[in-house]
Each structure stands twice: as C-alpha cells, then as structure tokens.
Amino acid sequence: MTHWTPGWDMHRPGSADPLPADRLPPIGALVAGEVVCHHAFGLGLYLMDFATYGHVNLPEIPGEFPAIGSAVTGIFLDISGNRQLRLSLRWVHRTLAGLRLTDVGRSANIAWLHIGGYALHVQAPLRLVRSGQILLGSDDMLWPQERGAEDSFDAFTTMYDRNAELLNGFLGRDEFLVLDGEIRPAGHLVLRLTDELVIEVLPARAGEGEAWRLFERGPGGYHHVHPPEEGP
C-alpha cells in the first residue's frame, strides 16, 4: 500500500515503515518530496529518495499550501514522535540565512552567484536591487560597454560584466549576508540581504527549460532545480 492506493493514510499506525537510523539524511540536508496530503496542521510528503514519508507542520510552510502531487524541496529537521521525518519547506531561509554573497558572474548566458557554500545558477530574468536601484540585471548582457561593439557578449565586455566586476569589488570589501529568502508562486525567488540588497529571479518561460538552480558546491550536494526536472 502506498499513497497511490485509495483510502491509504500515512498517519495510520503501520502505514509506513520507520526509516532505519543509518538511512536517515543528515539534519539540515535538502531532500526532494511529493505532496501527498493536506491537513489543518500541515502537509504530508512522500520522500522518493528514501522511499518513506515525512511531515511539514504549518509554521514551516511559506505562503499557500503547494498542491497535492506537486514536487517540493524540504530541509530535514528531525524525527517526530511516530518515527516519521519532520521537514521544513522554508529551506531557502533555513539554508541561506546568515551566508555571505561573495561574487557574481556569468558563463555564457547563465548568470551565477556564490552564497556561502552554495551556488545559484540563473537562466531567467535576474536582478540585484538596492533601495529601488538595479545594480545588476540579466538584461545588462544585451548591452555592450562600448556602443556598437558586436562581440561584447563573447568578449565578456557587456554592461553585465562591468557591473558584476564593480559589484564584486563591493562584495570583497563589505559583508552582504542573506537575511531571509522565499520562493513565491511560479518559482519567483527572492533573497533579502543586509544593506537593503535584494536578489530576485523571475522565471519567464511556460515551455520547457531550467530557470534556476540552487545547489551546494562540491560533489554530491543536493540540487534544487526550478522548474523541477522530469523523472525518468
């Protein structure tokens, strides 16, 4: 019996085997889940990588409940009284809060930002704003530093490259730390940093294609991709 079976309830005793201690993810790890039920006190997730179920309590759900069947990312908090995993969907905040934005750049048309040990790769409209002023935007890649220069994109001499270099100078001197972060509907990522710096990514594609991914740098780290990648 699984959550695909009519009448199945993950809360019923014996409906899911508890995960052995040696198979638990480390506390703080990001895990992929599918929403299987909604309740007044939170929601239930099927955690496909562990073939088990987990809970998300109401305070750990930012905004509206994600729809049943939708793919979500959670951060593993602890084990609840009934031996099921307890997770938070406020993983952007819990993962990135307190980390420092160290540098920004691009590889071809993929913008990247390094935040602590994480990287954010963006193939969607992006901007870094401070007090209402855009310091760096993805459309800056369209504008050469020198009027009429046709090879500026390949030569890394667009306004984006100039602004990134200026910004990296500030980021090297001053600490810009993530205060808070959230994913709004349809993948709108917002990170608020110290000194009123705000990073925003707005996915702008209905068709297929990655808009952004946030991942732990180094081998083996979890990748959160928006929109979620299709399964095999």
């Binding site: 409209p125 209402g132 760096l136 459309d139 707005l202 209905a206 068709g207």
Partner: protein, 99 residues
Amino acid sequence: MTAVLIGCVITELRRDGLGFRDVSHRLRIDCPLRVTRGAEVLVGSYDTDFDTRATVVAGLTVLTAEVSESGDLTLELTDSVRLHVFPACSGPMRPWRIV
C-alpha cells in the same frame, strides 16, 4: 498614470508591449515579462513560441495596476491572470511606459 490601464480590454500581447481595444494608448515594454495564473506560467518573454502562447490574454480586462519600488508593473486581469513586467537592466532606459 497607470490608472488609465484599468478597465482596458487587451487586444494583443507582444514582447514589446500590450495593445488595448478602443483606446489610443498602449503599454510599451522593453524588459522581461511573464503571465501567470496561480503557480502556472502561461507565457514568458523567454518562450521561443511567445506570440502563440501570448494569445491567452486577448480579450481579458485589466482590473488593477500596481508599480513597485523597483519599477515592476503588475496587472491583475480577469480570469485570475496576472501580468508581471520585471525590469532587469541597470541602464537609464525606461523598462516600460504608456504611450
């Protein structure tokens, strides 16, 4: 200024702007945009088949228009549809304007 958009019926959406029925003004757009319904993107400026998908807003009416501190323009349309115009350029050019 955006108040003139309220009540307007959309005739067409293109990457460079929004046209309306029976009025002389249009919204010119020179930055990214997307159209959503709830958590679903219906069309966005990064879509290669933008013009085909953009027909989804034809005939819808503008209910509200809001401008954020960063210069975003958000139009709430009928049928629970939202158009978000998202400035993403540091330069002095205007990301959108009513002409």
